[in-house]
Symmetry: none
Subunit: 213 residues, 4 copies
């Protein structure tokens, strides 16, 4: 839980009760969904009066957005921060495969320790235009450009097929997200050998986008 509160970041400015509210909301939203969770339930679990929620968040939806928006940023952004891109060009990752491994590993761990947040994001994305907007902005302005740089770099190196970046990104993202959703949500109770699965996923992707021979 403390991991997640870090993801939400501005913990310092929060009162103890507000932190309890956010924690309770995360639990309930991820378990039962936004519409199946009442504010009185949240207040109850947070050990707080219902009115207290509305001192901190004007509406129930504001609370949802306050929870979900940082996840969008933190789920997609960090790896694409300057540091990461520069690592690519400094040859920290000799092959695209190495980059892929670092990336998936990193995001896998993020997902693991922020599971409830990610569940909320996935479940509610369809219903809240505010969240969709934030997601599109993040993806369009940060993720795509960073991906483009990296893909161009490794294409130049002759490691990747001559497919449009857009197509490649879609396929990779799809494969990675699909793996994580299966791993953490659809079949979370299965006994997984994560290291093997990650490597198989990388192999699958490389088979699809990497240059043969």
């Amino acid at each position: 839980m403390s991991d997640m509160m870090e993801t939400l970041r501005n913990e310092e400015k929060m009162t103890p009760k507000q932190i309890e509210i956010v924690k309770a909301a995360i639990e309930l939203f991820s378990e039962k969904g936004y519409y199946n969770t009442s504010t009185s339930e949240i207040a109850n679990r947070a050990g707080v009066a219902e009115g207290t929620i509305f001192r901190h968040y004007r509406t129930k939806k504001d609370l949802l957005v306050a929870i979900v928006t940082p996840v969008i940023t933190n789920f997609s952004a960090p790896v694409f921060a300057k540091k990461f891109v520069s690592q690519v060009f400094q040859n920290d990752y000799e092959h695209f495969e190495d980059l892929l491994y670092a990336f998936i590993k990193n995001r896998f761990e993020f997902a693991q320790s922020n599971l409830p947040l990610i569940k909320i994001l996935l479940q509610e994305l369809a219903f809240h235009p505010e969240i969709q907007t934030a997601y599109k902005k993040e993806f369009g302005e940060k993720v795509i450009p960073a991906f483009n740089q990296a893909l161009d770099f490794y294409k130049e190196k002759g490691e990747l097929r001559d497919l449009p970046n857009e197509t490649m990104i879609r396929m990779m993202v799809t494969t990675i997200l699909g793996f994580m959703i299966t791993r953490f949500i659809v079949q979370s109770d299965k006994d997984w050998d994560d290291e093997t699965e990650i490597n198989q996923t990388i192999a699958y992707i490389m088979g699809g986008v990497g240059k043969k021979g």
Copy 2:
């Protein structure tokens, strides 16, 4: 719309009003989600009294389930019906790639003409245990076995890598679903060259699961 009503199948037994109710519910559920749609709105759009809905469906959730359950069966099942499997073994599809093409093409068209139904399924799956159960049953009892037969067949033929079927299925399903979700939901407004995209998707999958050389 009539395509979709076919998917729901038991149209014959429905009164005209009931058909209107289901049509209205499909539209509204897929546009705004189950929880954002009120029964009075459904009644309104169906041109029916609110009470009429409850003559046909004991609860609002019953209406949802009545709409969604057939989609599960129809989205996954038909291709795996006896006819389909026998086609595989009768060498109707010489290569796995051919099977894949037929499969994706067929499901792509189904998705296209049942888009609202599939949106409802995807959006609500997370929140309704009844739907999850139906989905798991269908997937476990029909899809997996059929896939297994086909994969074993083409493995034997030396066309597929020696990966666990489960892994292969997950990756293929993920890739295909991811393609369709992008195509029809996330970026439905983009200008798509469907034939090209389908072929690239097949190439991507074959790269990942096909035997090299």
Copy 3:
């Protein structure tokens, strides 16, 4: 009470419960004011579930407006209807004083049997732009023109001073309203000799606007 329901007019189209709701609302709004009356109180007194109120009136304010708007029309309009104006010109009222008497008498009786409605109107006018708009429209389009015709007629006859109509109307309306408010609201418990008071009011007005000698 049945008098008042007539004022509201469209009783025919109302369900019995709706009539009870309106009656209860009139009582409570006039006794305690709009903001001091809760919808649960109204429902209670009307012997109705709270939800029933909102089947008939989308919001609490809609209920207020539905009650108040007809009062505006009925308080100001009827006397100025065609019939009334034509009576003026057919010499039904030989002197302005006679017209005044008929007018005050008629409005006095209307006020008497619609007291709660008029209290609501006076009390809430200040706070609800919707009501102000309705009132201004009614006054500007019906009352003023009718008054103008009558005043011009009796000015021609040499019975009225040469004051601007606007000023005369303001003074007369003020005097008449002031009388009624004192009579029915401020000092409603006093023992009034209505006939005398009405005549004195007329005399006061005639002293102020009538031609001397």
Copy 4:
């Protein structure tokens, strides 16, 4: 605003924050009414914490009463103070008309510089028994007696008709208040020639209560 604070009188004993609270409350109450103004809004506009309001006024209603009560005294009283009455008997006003002019002029100016306060008084009078009581006390104990003295004096002088004082007071007050309400509230945006209107009002009153010939 400083004019109004004078009206409220005990400014000396107020802390700066308290003064801000009162100013903010006057603005908001007069603009939107007591029930549409929240204490948090007042605190906000006053630049003060919400709790601070309740250090100075036990309840929100106390704040209203603290604002409105002095207005009642100051709106009606000053003219009837000893000084004023003695002026009457010292023949400072030869004719009743002169007294009337001085009175209306003086109250007109008071109203002009205390408009928000007077709006609050008029708007809230109907809903708060505390205010009604204060108003009745003031009117009964100060205004009526002073008026009686003056009216008797000018009746003796043969300038006024032989109407009951009560009736005359009612009519005069009604006319004067009605004029001011029209001037400052109902049609405050109209272009007024105040001097002319005041004189016409006096003429109207004199026509109604003055002795003919």
